[in-house]
Symmetry: C2
Subunit: 332 residues, 2 copies
């Protein structure tokens, strides 16, 4: 392959992302300059946050510019290098974008070891989603043994890790996910105490059943009606970790604010936003601890692997339709 | 006067409170039994929280039962006593209800000194609203010198104290209030750095002007659109204290949740609910410090005094119409 296929952002999406929001181009494979290297991407990370990066306006990172290659995490192999610290043959993870090849100066790039874990795991449990789960739950949620931790998007890349860490820390873990398959995975394969199928159950009632002492920590990946349902079932001094709101990202109407937020007052509870980058200096520590749990079988992980760069727009949509179980990656 | 006039809750209000939600009765003045005393109320406290107490259902305190005397804080004088710790002639503050006379066993009752401060102040700055401001701002908001503190309902019983304590602690204080009179009071009499008239100004734009570094602490008494506007102007690591939501208490539609709550994520900010009762064991400490500030003139306080028990329903409405400046009390 001597072409570099790329998806560039062609326009700001209105509502649900469409193929026409991107421009698909083939360009020559670039050559690294001094202090640079060339990565051949092997797996792309598909994340809910990508939808936010496509919008105009201030957020926790600048938006992707129109005409720019769509931003994405990826793991790949270095195929050419004029960089003293990065050698050909090395596997690395970084924001290499939705393309076959990327040039990098090494900033924000981490070497990974394919012997230690399969490459897609470095985009999931040992990557940003795993870090998000680890620091969001432990540092923001502050769960104590015996408490009840509820996580939405429980079968997703972040949610699957949140519930398992909660169990490791001696908490009761209750997932919320869409569909019987996901709920079975969460309970049977991952060992959550329960999982509520929001497509088939009344979430508020089911929370009453599965969290008889109320919800101590709620890790929210979805927002919308599910956040509102959990707000009705808080325990005193509950902590809500606002990690994302996938139910709202493709809205054309304004975001649905949580009508039941005054429950925070009644329960002296808090709602706190998080962005994983704030713990960047501690990723290594977390990765070592999680790699240990993975090795000992206390932490399980699953990746949902789609194939072919050319399917990128449709594969990304699987996230917003809730079709993936585990971390969604695209194999190139 | 040998009758006890009482307002009893006759029905649960739908939307705005009406006189017909209460039953006005005259009953004989009761006599205290062993371990009880009789208080003649002199001032009633009218508080936004009273609207919540009239609703059915779980909150931070049980609702007022239908047929029960409407709950209200009051300051009064003991006119008969068979209680060893309370003597005739003493002034006391407690939840004595919307009536001329109340029987008490002393639980939750605090003696007050009319020489030290005028009686209505014990329902305001030295009472629950003052305690709410003190602990909500200092313990929940955790303002640091040089930070910007914004408070809504700035000319109200709680808000007037919040902004002044913020100034005492070396912060920039910006109020939000409805109308030029209130804003003038807040800036000219109380020394806030600025006050935004939400009835005449675009709150979001005005916040940009008056809080160029963003809002570090937002003390929210009102909820609704103003909460949403402040969410767009947060500084990193901002703290929002959820004290109340007076704009939503008389809604017949569901409470308006804050659409912009994902700003918590972008700014790693938190939103925390508070109920002042949690600091009951420290009221004495706070009252001593605030009495000192009052005495030295660093803290000013104003009460809006209406007259006549019989006007209770209409006087209460002044709160929800935003007609009071300072702590609203009803003189009997």
């Amino acid at each position: 392959m001597n072409k570099n296929r790329q998806f560039k952002l062609a326009r700001r999406p209105q509502g649900m992302v469409q193929r026409a929001d991107f421009e698909f181009v083939e360009t020559p494979v670039p050559e690294p300059g001094e202090g640079q290297f060339l990565v051949k991407n092997e797996y792309l990370s598909l994340d809910p946050a990508m939808r936010g990066w496509m919008n105009e306006g201030k957020s926790y990172v600048p938006p992707v510019g129109l005409g720019e290659v769509m931003r994405a995490g990826a793991v790949g192999r270095i195929v050419a290098s004029k960089h003293p610290q990065f050698a050909v043959g090395q596997h690395v993870v970084g924001l290499f974008g939705v393309q076959d090849y990327a040039i990098s100066n090494g900033k924000g790039v981490t070497p990974v070891d394919p012997e230690l874990a399969p490459l897609p795991v470095y985009l999931g449990t040992l990557g940003m989603p795993g870090m998000t789960a680890y620091f969001g739950l432990l540092e923001v949620g502050q769960p104590k043994p015996g408490e009840t931790v509820v996580v939405s998007g429980a079968a997703g890349a972040v949610g699957q890790v949140v519930g398992q860490i909660a169990k490791i820390k001696g908490c009761r873990a209750v997932g919320i996910a869409g569909g019987a398959d996901k709920c079975r995975y969460v309970v049977d394969a991952l060992g959550f105490d329960a999982c509520i199928d929001y497509k088939a159950e009344d979430v508020k009632k089911a929370l009453k059943t599965h969290c008889p002492q109320g919800v101590d920590v709620y890790f929210d990946n979805v927002g919308g009606d599910i956040l509102d349902a959990v707000l009705t079932q808080l325990a005193m001094h509950a902590r809500i970790v606002i990690c994302g709101a996938i139910s709202q990202y493709n809205n054309t109407a304004p975001v649905k604010g949580p009508s039941n937020y005054l429950s925070l007052l009644v329960h002296r509870a808090s709602m706190k936003g998080m962005v994983v980058f704030d713990w960047a200096d501690r990723y290594g520590e977390a990765a070592r601890e999680m790699a240990g749990w993975l090795a000992s079988g206390r932490l399980k992980t699953r990746e949902d692997i789609a194939e072919g760069l050319e399917t990128f727009p449709e594969t990304l949509l699987k996230l917003f339709k809730g079709e993936n179980i585990g971390k969604l990656v695209l194999k190139l």
